[in-house]
């Protein structure tokens, strides 16, 4: 008897899940953090600095910016891939769609700034193009993948913060990020405190930038998850 109930339950689960399983046909890298270096072109130091910088940016503005390097675009246009990735990861706050992705495909020599619906007014197509042309591309051409990504992220964040002279300049020397460590410490403290207070839904969104929708797998990667934002094809692409 018990076995029958169990079998029937399994059937129900199977029926219900077939619909959702079909949707995930594409092979996209999992969202393991704010910097997903699938192509392996970033040093771990740069990765950490970038992640801290992006986290600080989300703390102050609520905007989620992530960096993704992919080993392959699977024969797709980088613009198409960017939208798929952004939607699958749900980068940006839900309903506000304030997310952006710097997507780099070194094997296809293609780069794209994918901009969520909510940021299209600030990080316009023209601005994204200028960042790619003037900041990222010269570095990539010279073979400095890491410097291109780091200065590119700086330029994107400067534009998003609304700095008056954020118009992309040619590459500049980059100082060490002094603000990274305290921010991380504060976050760890908050993380530990909230953890001990118990996982109340009310606390988590404040800490992790309103991730109202937890997607599968996102919880493991250092606690970062997409907020459920969506993308509509804004931004610019470039090649080098």
């Amino acid at each position: 008897m018990r076995r029958l109930v169990f079998t029937l339950l399994l059937v129900v689960v199977a029926v219900v899940t077939t619909g959702t399983a079909q949707a995930a046909g594409l092979s996209l890298p999992p969202l393991t953090g704010r910097v997903v270096d699938q192509a392996g072109i970033l040093s771990s130091a740069a990765e950490q600095t970038l992640a801290a910088e992006l986290q600080a940016h989300e703390q102050s503005t609520g905007q989620q910016v992530v960096v993704a390097t992919v080993a392959s675009l699977d024969e797709r246009d980088i613009a198409e891939y960017g939208v798929e990735l952004g939607r699958a990861w749900g980068i940006g706050q839900k309903d506000k769609n304030t997310g952006a992705i710097l997507l780099v495909a070194p094997n296809e020599r293609a780069v794209r700034i994918e901009v969520g619906y909510g940021l299209e007014g600030t990080l316009t197509d023209a601005t994204s193009r200028l960042i790619i042309e003037n900041v990222i591309r010269p570095q990539f051409r010279a073979g400095n993948m890491e410097a291109g990504i780091v200065t590119g992220v700086d330029a994107i964040l400067a534009v998003l913060r609304g700095d008056p002279d954020a118009a992309p300049q040619p590459p500049r020397a980059r100082a060490k990020d002094p603000g990274g460590f305290p921010v991380i410490t504060v976050l760890i403290v908050i993380f530990v405190i909230t953890r001990f207070m118990g996982r109340r839904r009310g606390v988590w969104p404040l800490v992790l930038g309103a991730p109202t929708v937890w997607r599968g797998g996102s919880r493991r990667g250092g606690g970062f998850g997409g907020g459920g934002g969506s993308f509509g094809g804004g931004g610019a692409s470039g090649r080098w």
């Binding site: 029958l4 029937l8 198409e80 197509d125 804004g234 931004g235 610019a236």
Partner: protein, 193 residues
């Protein structure tokens, strides 16, 4: 006991698969994604006057290509869309054809522009060109989303139990038109630096 359990099981299964609100809900989704398609095409049309003016400043004697863009834009924007265009095969086909005409006219303009280095260096042109590229991208995304929602809607209308529900509760619901992905129409202007 066993029979009763099975009866409950199948009722639950039938109810789970039989969402009586699916047809109107999907209908609204189709409407929303259709507005997005129109919105993006409109956005492209709005960019064109400025683009044409800027190109004229540098390449005045490419008037034939420019005229073609202006004419294609006029044709696309002058079309009066009927209220139920998504269920009207003729109007839908016409809409798609007009927009495809504008796409290819713009693509030709972008090829011609390649011969004018001064124009390509113009800041305003760069801005307009990146907006145009971005808009072509957004059109592609909006079309894809529209195709996906229409597919869900049409599937609901044509398969059991949605078909049965629609026949009883929503007799007005009709299968909707969708884009045929013609290669030429999908191609965004290829611009290389």
């Amino acid at each position: 006991m066993l029979v009763r359990l099975l009866a409950v099981f199948f009722t639950v299964l039938a109810l789970a698969g039989c969402d009586i609100n699916a047809v109107p809900r999907l209908d609204e989704e189709v409407k929303a994604s259709w507005s997005q398609v129109q919105n993006q095409y409109q956005r492209r049309a709005d960019l064109i006057p400025n683009l044409v003016e800027t190109v004229k400043g540098y390449a005045a004697h490419e008037s034939q290509t420019l005229e073609a863009v202006i004419a294609a834009r006029a044709k696309a924007t002058s079309m009066q869309l009927p209220e139920n265009v998504t269920q009207d095969p003729e109007a839908f086909r016409q809409f798609q054809e007009n927009q495809a005409g504008l796409t290819s006219a713009l693509a030709r303009l972008m090829v011609v522009v390649e011969q004018y280095p001064n124009l390509k260096a113009d800041q305003q042109f760069i801005a307009l060109q990146s907006q145009l590229e971005g808009t072509e991208n957004r059109i592609a995304v909006a079309r894809k989303d529209y195709i996906a929602t229409v597919q869900r809607y049409n599937t609901e209308l044509r398969t059991f139990p949605g078909r049965f529900v629609a026949a009883v509760l929503y007799p007005d619901a009709k299968v909707k038109e969708t884009f045929t992905a013609s290669e030429a129409a999908q191609q965004a202007p290829a611009v290389k630096f």
